[in-house]
């Protein structure tokens, strides 16, 4: 019986970009590609620096563009957190409230 070696997952280029990207402080500096609808400016007329509101039509455009898992261990984390309730219950019994 062989033990599979699990290679440490490598972050994707997209995830690395996300980690190093700076937070926009103004939406006015951005000229989006022609196919992309800009955020509705009426939502941000009184926006303080870097505090933006975004309309649904703007937000849904990211759906097919940012597709990477948010962290290298995401799949395991989701399995642990959302997975079927088959974790050993013993570790949790008698926990103080």
């Amino acid at each position: 019986e062989t033990t599979k070696t699990v290679e440490p997952p490598q972050p994707s280029a997209q995830l690395l970009s996300l980690r190093s990207a700076r937070r926009l402080t103004s939406l006015n500096d951005i000229s989006y590609p022609a196919a992309i609808a800009s955020p509705n400016p009426a939502l941000n007329t009184t926006a303080p620096m870097g505090k933006f509101r975004y309309d649904k039509n703007f937000l849904v455009q990211f759906q097919s563009v940012f597709v990477e898992k948010p962290s290298e261990d995401w799949s395991n984390k989701i399995k642990e957190t959302l997975g079927a309730g088959d974790e050993p219950a013993s570790a949790r019994t008698g926990s103080a409230r």
Binding site: L18, I36, L59, F66, T81, L82, G85, S95
Partner: protein, 229 residues
């Protein structure tokens, strides 16, 4: 103020310009935490063991990375919930920031007919895009919830107050002593109308608002609708 020919290194490049080599991201007004309630698994868990914090995020890009890589509501087991709350607020009515509050809620009893993934997504986008409230100063929205049950899906929108003042808060803010009852109620009603709009409900359908403590006392989340829209 960059020359369009000479690609300066700090020229903003969004994920739309280059999905793998972008250098700016779109910040959200608030940090949000996604929570999950796991269905009980035979053993007598208490609810606190079943409520799990999944992830916290504060940009549009991060949100989609999460949304695109997590189980859709339509595939969750019965008795599961997703809760998306402002960071630092537990999705329980006992939380200090929820205990004076209430919620707008609607049950979709025809589960097959309800486009639940789309409804939940639109509610979440309203929350993180901050378009459910008319502005940050409203200060009522705490989070949004979806419950998956045998007979229905329920969507909810939690507020900080029930339109009343909370002791010890000053200013024209949610629960503050300088916010009039009329204004407080109008903000809650406006949230209810927006909630109903996102749910795409026909005019005859009603969404109901109830206070958390009234609900808890009556032992039912459907008790004592305080407002309807």
């Amino acid at each position: 103020a960059t020359d369009s020919k000479g690609k300066s290194s700090d020229e903003p490049v969004t994920v739309f310009h280059d999905k793998d080599n972008f250098n700016v991201k779109h910040p959200l007004m608030n940090e949000w935490t996604l929570w999950f309630t796991k269905p009980p698994s035979g053993k007598d868990h208490n609810w606190n063991d079943l409520l799990k914090e999944v992830v916290t995020f504060d940009s549009v890009e991060e949100f989609w990375g999460i949304y695109n890589n997590i189980t859709p509501v339509s595939e969750l087991a019965l008795k599961s919930d997703y809760h998306l709350f402002k960071k630092g607020v537990r999705p329980e009515w006992e939380d200090p920031q929820n205990k004076h509050g209430g919620k707008w809620a609607y049950q979709f009893k025809d589960k097959k007919a309800a486009p639940i993934d789309e409804l939940w997504l639109h509610l979440v986008l309203g929350a993180i895009g901050e378009t459910l409230e008319s502005g940050e100063e409203d200060g009522e929205l705490m989070g949004v919830v979806v419950n998956v049950r045998k007979g229905f899906y329920r969507l909810g929108l939690w507020t900080k107050t029930v339109g009343k003042k909370i002791g010890g808060i000053t200013g024209d803010v949610a629960g503050g002593k300088d916010r009039s009852e009329e204004k407080a109620k109008e903000i809650l009603m406006s949230l209810g109308r927006k909630f109903k709009e996102v749910m795409k409900l026909a005019g005859g359908e009603q969404v109901e608002f109830s206070g958390h403590t009234e609900s808890a006392r009556a032992g039912s989340t459907r008790a004592n609708a305080k407002f309807v829209v």
